[in-house]
């Protein structure tokens, strides 16, 4: 098995990670040229670990998840790098092989639970079909497993619920069903893209607590994409901050939140309104993220960065380890001059 150095400075055997993305590049060829949406992104998720992914809208969070799932929409394509799920390389698989691996090794939870469920079939039928597709269980065994899954995701009276249709569930309950479906084949990795954005605060807390519990109990690795730093702080082990198609900082969640290294992460953290004290004006990062066809040279954050120096527009800083976290910024790598 291949052993790759990862930017955190550790080396980790690809076979032991739930997810190992190395040097991923995703492009969108358009009439006016090729747009690079993801540029040399690396991240790893250990079994039983939740990796939070945050960053400005359009930074490439969802595209990264879709590339891992092999669900990039045409004309998007993986132009470089390697993706391993549970030690198996998935970015080079054929469509048919990928379909199998996707159901068995990877699950997906998206923002809107209704799009993931078929309104015409009962929840039980959808669960049983998914289980049988990826295992050799007979109908009775698959039924028992479906019941167990619904119970695990905290749905009361699962026997009756199996017979019901998606529209008979509330938003929070539907998202639980989607989580049960994602777990049906016992995957090693779940990609959860804004799984709680459409839900109420009180239900949101239940769903994130559930993800945490499932992770601890089943050892599944989860990539959790969200705008909500509170959710990340509460559920993730590590966090990865993206800006304009690149990872600019990654590390243990408490360190990134309380001691951010990259100027963009610092801006992001101070822009969050506090629950504890009120300020007149929130700290804000002036300007907006560059468009893909006009990405600045060097560090893409330099036009907005209060610390930018001449080196920042000339050379792209690599992601290197500083204490416990890794940051891609010249400030920690010999200065910006």
């Amino acid at each position: 098995m291949m052993v790759l150095p990862i930017p955190d400075g550790n080396t980790q055997n690809t076979a032991t990670s739930a997810l190992d993305v190395h040097g991923l590049t995703v492009e969108f060829p358009t009439r006016r040229g090729v747009l690079t949406a993801i540029d040399d992104v690396s991240m790893q998720i250990a079994p039983g670990e939740i990796l939070g992914v945050v960053g400005e809208s359009g930074a490439g969070k969802s595209i990264t998840g879709l590339a891992v799932l092999g669900l990039l929409e045409h004309p998007g394509r993986i132009a470089g790098g390697a993706i391993h799920v549970g030690g198996r390389r998935v970015d080079t698989l054929s469509e048919a092989e990928l379909t199998k691996v996707r159901g068995r090794e990877m699950g997906a939870i998206f923002q809107d639970p209704l799009t993931a469920l078929n309104p015409l079939f009962s929840v039980g039928k959808q669960l049983v079909e998914t289980i049988r597709l990826h295992s050799d269980m007979n109908r009775a065994a698959a039924n028992a497993r479906a019941l167990e899954l619904l119970r695990n995701v905290g749905i009361p009276a699962p026997e009756e619920r199996l017979r019901q249709y998606p529209h008979q569930f509330s938003g929070g309950m539907r998202q639980r069903v989607v989580i049960a479906l994602a777990l049906a084949a016992g995957p090693r990795l779940i990609i959860a893209d804004e799984p709680t954005t459409a839900l109420d605060v009180s239900i949101q807390a239940q769903i994130t607590a559930l993800l945490r519990k499932l992770c601890d109990e089943t050892g599944v690795g989860i990539m959790l994409v969200t705008h909500d730093m509170g959710v990340i702080a509460e559920t993730a082990d590590r966090v990865c901050v993206m800006y304009s198609g690149r990872v600019v900082e990654s590390g243990p969640v408490a360190d990134v939140i309380h001691n951010p290294q990259h100027p963009y992460t610092r801006g992001l953290m101070s822009a969050i309104p506090s629950l504890h004290d009120r300020v007149e004006t929130l700290a804000q990062i002036d300007g907006s993220m560059p468009r893909l066809n006009a990405r600045p040279s060097g560090c893409a954050f330099h036009p907005r960065c209060p610390h930018a120096g001449p080196r920042c527009s000339a050379e792209t800083p690599p992601l290197v380890k500083v204490d416990t976290t890794s940051a891609a910024c010249w400030l920690q790598q010999g200065g910006t001059q």
Binding site: G55, E56, S57, V201, Q206, A233, I272, S274, H276, Q284
Partner: protein, 322 residues
């Protein structure tokens, strides 16, 4: 701040939606008519120059209140009245919606989108003055005058929300109703929009009715907060009071479930229950199936919203009639 001059008074307002199946289906399937009581007997006043926020779970009636205030829905009963504006006429209202993508016409240039209400209401005399006003509005919201010639798809989510704010300001409103104005945005863009809204409030003396499910945003923006549950206001208090001393069990639950980056590993009671169906609301206090301190009385009588200490009002038997 001009205190005690109401910009908006909502008295005892209710809104019922008929959600029955079509008449013929009802006849064939022998189903009764179905009604959703989206808003029940809601009353509040917003003083000029202040920000009044409504929080609560999805489906509790927040957007319905916003739409009643802006006249997009008519009330089933009750009364909504506006204070007197700068020109001596009733205060004008405008609304900012959650989704800046769908609320801007993609085929119009930004300049025309903003100019439309000015032309419609004949607020400027000629084309030249209208153009000047559009440029001024774009600058007010932090965009450039030449952005008037571009189309909405050329802007980011945060910039589009600025365009919607410019359009809302074009009709010179004094009360802005903002329904989840930053929910679709990431935190750094959210900070830009919230700062802009605060700045406009100081500059133009605007009054806000603000709706959000993000409680840290609400705390940042508001002077006064109303908590709604299943169509009713269950607690209403000055912002600091509500955050430091919530009295209603639902307000307490809501505050306890906010993810907090400063205190992440607190215990979440994951079994806090599900919101009930508005088609078939529980008897008495609608919160009783989820309430940890529900009593017999709670299943029978709807608690009234009564004044407690420090300008707060609470609708809970355990608080007002223990």
């Amino acid at each position: 701040m001009n205190t005690h001059i109401p910009a908006l008074t909502v008295s005892d307002v209710s809104k019922v939606f008929d959600v029955s199946a079509p008449w013929l289906n009802r006849l064939i399937e022998r189903r009764p008519k179905l009604f959703v009581k989206a808003v029940s007997e809601v009353s509040f006043t917003i003083e000029k120059g202040t920000c009044f926020s409504i929080v609560g779970e999805s489906g509790c009636g927040k957007s319905t209140v916003a739409r009643l205030v802006t006249g997009l829905y008519t009330t089933t009963s009750g009364d909504i009245s506006f204070g007197t504006g700068r020109t001596g006429r009733p205060i004008r209202v405008q609304m900012i919606f959650q989704d800046p993508h769908s609320s801007l016409n993609p085929r119009w240039r930004v300049g025309d989108i903003i100019a439309e209400p000015i032309r419609e209401m004949k607020l400027r005399d000629d084309v030249k003055q209208t153009d000047a006003r559009v440029r001024e509005l774009l600058e007010t919201v932090g965009l450039g005058a030449d952005d008037a010639l571009r189309y909405p798809h050329e802007f980011s989510g945060g910039q589009r929300q600025r365009i919607s704010i410019a359009r809302a300001l074009a009709s010179e409103p004094e009360l802005l109703v903002c329904d989840e104005p930053t929910s679709a945005l990431d935190v750094s863009v959210q900070a830009q929009i919230l700062n802009l809204m605060r700045h406009l409030q100081d500059e133009l003396g605007l009054t806000y009715l603000f709706i959000s499910h993000n409680l840290s945003v609400v705390r940042h923006m508001s002077d006064y907060i109303a908590v709604m549950y299943l169509g009713r206001i269950v607690e209403q208090a000055p912002v600091e009071h509500l955050f430091t001393a919530p009295r209603h069990p639902y307000s307490k639950l809501l505050l306890a479930t906010i993810p907090d980056i400063e205190n992440p590993r607190r215990r979440i009671d994951a079994q806090a229950g599900e919101p009930p169906s508005p088609l078939n609301p529980p008897s008495g206090c609608a919160f009783h199936p989820r309430c940890p301190i529900a009593m017999d009385k709670c299943r029978k009588a709807i608690p009234e919203l009564l004044a407690t200490e420090g300008q707060a009002r609470v609708a809970c038997h355990a608080v007002t009639d223990p």
